[in-house]
Structure formats: C-alpha cells, structure tokens
Amino acid sequence: MRLTLKIWRQRSGDDVGGFESYELDGAGAEFTLLEALDKLNDTIVAGGGEPVAFDSDCREGVCGSCGVTVDGVPHGPVANTPSCRQHLRSFPDGGTVTLEPFRSAAYPVVKDLVVDRSALDRVIEAGGFVSIDAGTAPDADSHQASHETVEAALDFAACIGCGACVAACPNGSANLFTGSKLVHLSLLPTTQEERGKRAGAMIGAMEEEFGPCSVYGECVQVCPAGIPLAAIAGLNKEKLRAVLRGKDN
C-alpha cells in the first residue's frame, strides 16, 4: 500500500522542529507502524538523508519503549495498543498519516520522534520500590495473600511505563501511571511496610512535573496495559490514607 507520512523532524532539543512529508510505497497492510518507519528509513538512508529517529525495543508490546503520536492520538488509532502493535491496515491506502512525538511539557523532545521520559523515572525513584531487605525468595506459604489480591496487584503491575497516559491527557497528568504503581505496591504483604511514605513521596514527585487529573478518561483509552481508571481513585485513596494516618506504613 501507499501512504504519505507527515513526520515531525527535530534535530535536537534546542531545535524548533516541524513536519516533513514522505511518500512510503510498497509497504504491506500487515506492516506495523515501526516496520513502516524502518522501511522509510532504508529509503532515506539510501538517498543519503538522516533517518527518522524513534524509540523501540521489544516490538511485542511488553517493554514500553516505543511511543509516537499518530494523527493526534498517542500510540495510534487502535485503542490500548502500543505503537509497535499498530498496523498499517488501520489506515486507508493512499491516505496521509501524521506522526509526532508524545506531547507533554514533562517530555522534552530528544530528536524527531524520541522524547525523554525520565520524569516518569523520577516518580519511581521517589518511592516506587521496596527498601526493606526481602532476602531470598521466601517459602511459598510464608506470605499469605489471597488469589484475588494477587490478581488485582498483577492487573495494576501490568503498566509498562510507556507514558502514553500523560501524552493522552489534556492536563498532562501522570495519575494513571503513578496510581497503577501505588495500587500494585499497596496490595502485597512485603511492600505494605512503606505504604504511607511511598504514597506521599511518589505523589509529591509526580505533582512537581505533571498536571492534575480531571478524569477525562483519555489515558485509559490509550494505555497498552489496560490499566483501569480505578488506578486514579487508588492514587487518591493512598494519598488520603497517608495524610489521615501520618505513618510510614
């Protein structure tokens, strides 16, 4: 199939950047978006040009590295699907597709479609870990947790940290991301020791760099891990709990 790709080109963070149009010919409908970019880059490099920079790693939707905004929607037209799992069959043959980086003040552009998502790492660094010595793998029965609790923790642990929720949010909020981490860690036995402290620290770090939540619900539409909106309620629950109890756990 044949597509016109309108791609955001920006040499560096200091560069202003702008759109450039490219013709992509001979790509199959089964191509993923990133494979289409690979093909386009082959042509650009063969012609002596600078290839389009974009992030990718596993290309099977588990690593959270990739992420471009396609026609104004983070990741692309298919809901809850990362950029690497978006296929060209979603677009009409002969149509135009606009590709730009994830947009948020918290994500400075590094080059072309690559953004710096370290702001998310700083939220994790603030408390998204277990600092008590958990030792070696414990006996399976020593930590009692119900099947339902573990399943719920896993549902929220599914977040791959791609940061599309922030790009999708008209407020530039990272509540879905932070909420998924907080809810996940609040449910398990060993991680509960720091529950209150963690909530205060992570939410504090989040509010420094990201916007507030107005429950637009745009984040859950793009989230490749299918994190539910309940994560945002979970974040506020953890915050209220920490404030009302005033304790570390």
């Binding site: 104004g72 003040a105 407020n171 916007g211 309620a233 629950k237």
Partner: protein, 215 residues
C-alpha cells in the same frame, strides 16, 4: 474541590426539593421560605441557621473556584505548547467543566439578584421583600419566570448544572478514592441520576409557569 463540590451537590439537591414545593401552592411555598429564616429558633437567632449555611456556601465557593483556577493553571503548564485536539465526545463533560463552571457562577449571581436581593433589572418589576413572618417568594418566582428570557436562561443554566454535576460527582468519586467495582458502579449511577433529577426537577418549574400550570 471534591469536598466543596459535594457540599454544593447536597445544597442543589435540597434546594430543588424546596423548589418543588411550588407545586403545593403559594401558602406552602411561602411558609417554607419563612421556615428557612426561623429554623431552629430560639436556639439560634432569626436567620441564624440561614446565614450559617450561607457562610458555608461562600467558603465553599471560594475554595471551589480557587481550586479550579489552580487546576487550570497547573494543567496548562503541564501539557506544554501542544494541546490535544479533536478529542472525542466521550470526554465532552470533562472538557467543558471550566465553561460550565463559569456559566454557573454567572447564573448564581443573577439568581441571587433576581430572587434574594430583588435588585432590578435582574429581579422582576413586581418583586417584594418578605418581612419577619411573611414571604412573597412564590409571587416573586412566578413574576420572574413569566419573563420568557429569564425562564430560558434558567432552563439553560439547569442543563449546564446537570452537566457539571454529572462529571463533578464522578470526579469526586475518584478524588475520594473509591476503588471497588461495586462502589464505582453505584457512583456512576448516582452521579447520572442525581444530575438528571436535579436538572429536570428545576426545569419543570419555569416550564410550568410559562404554560400557566403554576400561577
């Protein structure tokens, strides 16, 4: 914003129930208006409870508007120069919250001038203040809604109130940390039903006045 918003939601619900007394006739409606002023007398002075409630509402208004201004400012800073465009209809209520909020604020000012302070031209030409043991609330309301443009503005404001309430209650559910499936399902239903009930209950009054059902 969640707490002040919920106080407003409780207020508009009670206010609507009070409004519906208009269907029980002038005597009943005016007696209710007098009762609001003499509530819990002699423990509290005349209009004491009324003013306590008014002060709570004013404090909530300052908190709610202040919170909204901070939220909008933080959101603008965080989203950067490239805002999302062509958003789908599903987030229409969320997107219009600042607009519906401002419309409601303007409506509240008009509504107070019209039916509380009786300041013309917001109030009708025949507006009459109540005394310690009488009220003209019923007559003032009828006279006000007999002006079609005022009735229309009221109906419009109530639609806007319904929109603001529906999303506001749902947002408050998140702000107060409701995570369980059951609680969230109840919250969705309550947000929608309460918003629609308050909207339709209030809208019925100017419609009834214009149709001549309530005179």
């Amino acid at each position: 914003m969640a707490v002040t918003g919920l106080i407003f939601a409780a207020f508009v619900l009670v206010h609507m129930i009070g409004n519906l007394k208009v269907y029980q006739g002038a005597e009943h409606f005016n007696a209710y208006a007098v009762w609001l002023r003499t509530l819990l007398e002699p423990l509290f002075p005349y209009e004491g409870v009324l003013w306590a409630l008014r002060i709570v509402l004013i404090v909530c208004l300052v908190g709610h508007v202040g919170g909204a201004a901070m939220l909008v400012a933080r959101a603008r800073r965080a989203r950067g120069p490239f805002r999302r465009r062509r958003l789908p209809m599903r987030s229409f209520l969320a997107r219009t919250m600042p607009v519906t909020g401002v419309v409601l604020l303007l409506f509240v000012i008009f509504h107070l001038l019209d039916l509380t302070t009786g300041t013309r031209p917001a109030a009708s030409a025949s507006f009459e203040h109540g005394t310690v043991d009488t009220s003209h609330a019923y007559e003032n309301l009828i006279a006000s809604f007999q002006r079609p443009e005022v009735a229309l503005f009221y109906i419009l404001a109530m639609v806007v109130l319904g929109m603001h309430l529906a999303h506001g209650l749902w947002t408050a559910t998140h702000d107060l940390g409701a995570t369980s499936h059951r609680l969230r399902a109840i919250a969705v239903a309550v947000s929608g039903i309460l918003a629609i009930a308050i909207m339709l209950g209030n809208i019925s009054i100017p419609v009834a006045v214009l149709l001549g059902v309530v005179q």
